[in-house]
Each structure stands twice: as structure tokens, then as C-alpha cells.
Amino acid sequence: MSTAMIYLDGLSVLGPGLPDWGTAAACLRGERPFVAAELALPAVLALPATERRRVGTAVKLAMATGFAAVADAAADAAQLVNVFSSTGGDCDNCHNLLEVLASDERLISPTRFHNSVHNAPAGYWGIATGCTAASTSLCAYDATFAAALIETATQVLASGQAAVLVAFDTAYPQPLYSQRPIPYPMGVGMVLAPQRTAASKAALQLAFTRDAADVMADAGLEQLRRTIPAARSLPLLQLLASGQPGCVVLEYLDDCQLAVTVSA
């Protein structure tokens, strides 16, 4: 069985060689070649200066991804239920804490400690936007994007309110990089709404399936899909870029994949 219909009002992508949705859509349609390149992330101007100085790649990426999706939907961030998903949270911060704890002087920075919670980007989002609505931060290892899409969709259906999904991943430095080799930071944002609005680009329905997950034909994009959890969204983004109705299967968990039906 599938969920009731929900509507995609806003979309954003920030990834290697994919600096915005327009460029990403052209790559996904095959109109321009995909070439991975470092991503430049803006400072989070919405945060107070004291907070802004403290935040690293993970928070910058999550903020930029969320704000771009909200702007695309012409929505008010302060009103949106929000879901933040990431496989590792702030990986640089985690590595730093582990190094300090392994040293003779275990002088943990209080700021680094509170930034170590998985929901730190969600906390900064609330501070930056003034949003007091429900906020969830979650993880499902490689299945994190599909898990977040399900959580956001069911939030929208249950609350009857629009929600923003921010899926982001960053890389660990060594030595944890060898255990979790995510090659580039990448973020995907979506604003989902319970009813069709002037901003709605497509209608979505979700269902579980045992069918195999779709893969990308382009080798570079397929490499991203396989190595960055947020990029498991690429088959859906490709279908959305085509502007056509259809159905894709996103990689989720063993024996349980996520089918997404896109209609006008």
C-alpha cells in the first residue's frame, strides 16, 4: 500500500559539481557532464556572530541546504516542521573529541561537546530561523535519506502542515575515514506540503517494495549514489529533473526498499 499524496514545493541540492538545483538538473538530464568538484559553502549569516564562528562544515551545509529548499518553496522557515538526517552528524567535531579523549589531557571543549549531538544542526536551525515547531534528527546508516523522506512525509500527513527535510552528509578525517569513506559533503533539501500550493512541482506517494533499487547510468553520478547516503536520492532527483511522471525505487534497508511515485 502507498501513502496518501504529498506535494513537493521546494527542492535543493548542494554537492560536488552540483552547486545548485539548476546545474544538478542539467547534469541529471544528461545536458551537461557531471564533474565532481569541491563545494564552497557560505557562512551562516542567519546565525548570531558568536554562533557563526563556531560552526563547521556540517552545520554550514545543513543550513545552506535547508535555506535553499525553503526559498525555492517561497515558504517561511519559522513555520516548518523540520527533519534533519545525516549518517555521521558533524564528523570533524566527532574526530576532534575522540582525539582529545585519547590524549593525556582530556580537556574537552564545552562547545565541541554540545556540537557533538546528532541534532546540533537542527538546534542551530531553530536558533537561526526562530522556528519552534517539531524537529527530528535521525540516522539509518546508508538508508538515511529514505528514512528521512518517510519521516518527513508521515509528519506532513499526520500534522497537515508543511515540513522541510534536510539530508546532509560530511566526511570523517582519518582514521575514521577508512571505516566510513564518504568522498564529499553533500546536502539535499525538500519542502513537502499536505496540499497542492502555487509552489508545488510534483505530487509524491511512498510505498515499501522488495524491488531492486534504481541505479544511475552515469558512472560518476552512480559513484556518488553509492558512497554518500544523501546521494541515494539521485534516482528521484533525476526523475524530478525530467519533469515526467514515473516511479523510482530508492535504496533503503535489506529486504525493504522505498518506491516513490511522482505525478504532476
Binding site: 500500500m1 501513502t3 549518517t87 555521521g88 552528524g89 573529541l97 575522540l98 582525539e99 579523549l101 585519547a102 582530556r106 580537556l107 574537552i108 571543549s109 564545552p110 561537546f113 554540545h114 557533538s116 549531538v117 546528532h118 541534532n119 546540533a120 537542527a122 538546534g123 531553530g126 536558533i127 526562530g130 522556528c131 519552534t132 515547531a133 517539531a134 524537529s135 527530528t136 534528527s137 535521525l138 540516522c139 539509518a140 546508516y141 538508508a143 538515511t144 528514512a147 518517510i150 519521516e151 512525509a153 508521515t154 509528519q155 500527513l157 499526520a158 582519518q174 582514521p175 575514521l176 577508512s178 571505516q179 566510513r180 515499501f208 533503503y252 534497508l253 535489506d254 529486504d255 525493504c256
Partner: protein, 397 residues
């Protein structure tokens, strides 16, 4: 909302394994927090430690998941016949239709902390027996539970600091309402590690003695560990005497990363929404299991919000004096304390608290009260300003 039945529930903390030692400890107002030298921590610390985790052995097929957190997860699953109840649910619904939504803030990071101490001095490489995916990654405990039962439905870990395992009740409720599942295993597992002991110490939020929630002299938390599980099914299956989830409220403080809004703005919103969803008035709530961490600012913010919404009369207490603050597992553990309170008609008096703060004139229970309960509210508020309140009710005879 459509109410959900708590078909089975179990908890394991410093008070013991399963419901019986917890009820005994509540009745005796006995806490499980002890002062000790833990792992390689260089100072004495008061912790709520679960006994016997070093002896727990994971099934051979799940050997890669071996870490303190998953040992605790397994030990918890084996209490109160919980695993058998899950097997019965699998028989009814099939493996595809049961979700696993767990809350955790620590996951098995202790393993990586130890591994960082054992890095190769030349190459910096981690020891080969570290399994990041199965132990350290936030998802590992839900993955472990899902594999333990060979389930093939949806799963994830919510990691919103100390509200984590309260919020998974909301996830399960929404997933059932959307028709994607028929039942869910929800709960939380968090275990002692250096990150939280040194981290909370750096913020000067750890008490030098067992914590004293809502006490005038409260001076910080005691870190605990624990596992809690609840099997949730549709509420229309509930029979008289059963415990059901009737309300979930979630909000954000939008204020500060590690300090609550001083007036408890987010706490107030979460409690109000939970009441609204359950269709209840404040006067209907017979007992509030407070978040009650025992830090000066957390208790002040929560107390202000409780007073504003409920006034001075509603009985309340924090069970963190019994178990310590089990962080990502606290919401699940306190949900089960709430269910036990409803089932037994037992309003637990707090442990560790002797003189309640006159600035927080709530009806904080210093002694047990035995009286029938119909509705209980449980609060869980976390770093990053993440708040969740749950309402549990007893089905009328």
C-alpha cells in the same frame, strides 16, 4: 490521534533487569546511582551503571555488533518476555509490517573511544577489530534489534539528545497512521562512555553526588545508562487495564544549544500539544514524570512551564534520582515508569531530593503516593532545544 496500545514493555537500568526490580526500587524509594572510578575516568563520578554488561555475549551471527551499547540492548530485550511478545507480533503481522524506531545519543561510541587510544603509533590506523557501522554509527542499535528479530520493515534511530527515545513514539504513531506498518518496537538504549562523562563535566553540569532533582541545592546530573523497549500496536485492540499512548507533543526551543529557554517556552509547547492531541485538560493529568535532570537551569525552566500550565497541585517527580540521567534512553525508560505508575497506581516519590526548591512550588513528591491513576504525562527535553512530551492513559474497566 489514534491511540496506540503498549502491548509489551520492559526496561533495564542501574536498578536492575526488567520490571520487577524497578517496581521494588520505586516502592522502596531506592536509587541505583553510585560514586566510583569508571573505565579510565581520572576522577570519581556518580553513575547509574547497569551491572553485568561485561559478561553479556551477543549471538555469533551478530558478533560484529559487540559493544557496550548493544550488549545492553540485548540484555534489555531478554527481560519480561519482551522478545516472545515480538515473536507473537511477527506471527500476526509478518516481518515486513513491524517497524524498529530507537532513540540513542551515545550509540556504541565507547568502542571508538577505546580504539582511538589503541591507534597504531606510526600509521595512526585504528585497530582492525573496530566495527564502525555496527557499533559507533548512530543507527547501530536499531540495526541490531532489527537483525536480532530478522525484521524486514522500516527502521531508524532518532538522535535528538535527551528527547530521542520519547520522539520515537511519535514516529511510530505517524507510521501506523499512514498505514505503512501494523506494529512497532520503540525505545532507547544509551550507555556510559567518556564523551558524555567528560563532556557534561566540561559544561559543569555533573553533580559530585547522586543527583537531586528539583532540590534547592541541586547542582547537576548523574549520568546513567539503560535500555527500554515498548511494543506498540493499534489502540482499538486495547482491553480494560491496558496502557495506551494518547498524546505526543514535540517542539523546539529555538533558543540555545545547551541551555533551555529560561521560561520553558519549548517545554510548555510540547506539554500543551500532547494534552491537545490526547483531548485532555491539565486537570486530567494525575502525575507528571518530569524531565527533572537536576541541573539548576533545566529544573527551573521545566518547573516554570509546569506551573504555568498545571498550577501547583499536579503531583510530579523525576525518576532520574533513581536511575541517573540515561540521556538518549531516558524518554523510553520514563515512558515505562509512567506505564508502571498507571498500572500499579503508584506515584513515585523522588530519590535524592530532600528540600524542594521554594522557587519551584510544584507538587513535587518526596514520598510515594498510592492512588489510582488515569492519565500520566512524561517529559523529555534535550540539547539543541528538542522537546517531547507523551501522554499515557489506562483503559477504563
Amino acid at each position: 490521534m489514534q491511540a496506540l496500545r503498549l502491548s509489551a514493555y520492559t526496561l533495564t537500568t542501574a536498578l536492575g533487569r526488567g520490571q520487577a526490580p524497578h517496581l521494588a526500587a520505586l516502592r522502596a524509594q531506592r536509587g541505583g546511582i553510585v560514586k566510583k572510578r569508571w573505565e579510565t575516568v581520572e576522577f570519581d563520578v556518580c553513575v547509574g551503571e547497569v551491572a553485568g554488561l561485561d559478561e553479556v555475549r551477543l549471538p555469533a551471527t551478530l558478533a560484529d555488533y559487540d559493544c557496550r551499547n548493544n550488549r545492553l540492548a540485548l540484555l534489555g530485550l531478554q527481560q519480561d518476555g519482551f522478545a516472545a511478545q515480538v515473536q507473537a507480533a511477527i506471527g500476526s503481522y509478518g516481518t515486513d509490517r513491524i517497524g524498529v524506531f530507537m532513540g540513542s545519543s551515545t550509540s556504541g561510541i565507547l568502542s571508538t573511544e577505546v580504539a582511538y587510544r589503541q591507534r597504531d603509533p606510526h600509521s595512526g590506523a585504528l585497530p582492525p577489530d573496530l566495527h564502525y557501522r555496527e557499533t559507533h554509527n548512530a543507527y547501530s542499535v536499531a540495526d541490531f534489534v532489527r537483525k536480532y528479530f530478522a525484521l524486514s520493515g522500516p527502521a531508524m534511530v532518532v538522535s535528538t539528545a535527551c528527547s530521542s527515545s520519547a520522539k520515537v513514539f511519535g514516529t511510530a504513531q505517524r507510521m501506523l497512521a499512514a498505514g505503512l506498518i501494523d506494529a512497532a518496537i520503540v525505545g532507547g538504549v544509551d550507555s556510559l562512555c567518556l564523551t558524555t562523562i567528560y563532556g557534561f563535566s566540561s559544561l559543569q553540569l555533573v553533580s559530585s553526588q547522586p543527583c537531586r532533582p528539583f532540590d534547592a541545592a541541586r547542582d547537576g546530573i548523574s549520568i546513567g545508562e539503560g535500555a527500554a523497549y515498548v511494543l506498540l500496536e493499534r489502540g482499538d485492540l486495547a482491553r480494560p487495564g491496558d496502557i495506551i499512548l494518547t498524546g505526543v507533543g514535540e517542539s523546539s526551543d529555538a533558543y540555545h544549544m545547551s541551555s533551555p529557554h529560561p521560561e520553558g517556552r519549548g517545554a510548555h509547547m510540547a506539554m500543551q500539544q500532547a494534552l491537545q492531541m490526547s483531548g485532555l485538560q491539565p486537570a486530567d493529568i494525575g502525575y507528571i514524570n518530569l524531565h527533572g535532570t537536576a541541573t539548576p537551569s533545566n529544573d527551573a525552566a521545566e518547573g516554570a512551564a509546569v506551573l504555568a500550565l498545571f498550577g501547583k497541585d499536579t503531583p510530579c517527580s523525576s525518576t532520574k534520582g533513581h536511575t541517573g540521567h540515561t540521556l538518549g534512553a531516558a524518554g523510553g525508560i520514563e515512558a515505562i515508569f509512567s506505564a508502571l505508575a498507571l498500572r500499579e497506581g503508584l506515584l513515585p516519590g523522588g530519590v535524592g531530593t530532600s528540600q524542594t526548591d521554594p522557587a519551584l512550588p510544584c507538587n513535587y513528591l518526596l514520598h510515594n503516593v498510592e492512588q489510582p491513576l488515569q492519565h500520566v504525562l512524561s517529559n523529555s527535553f534535550g540539547f539543541g532545544g528538542s522537546n517531547c512530551s507523551l501522554v499515557f492513559s489506562r483503559v477504563d474497566a
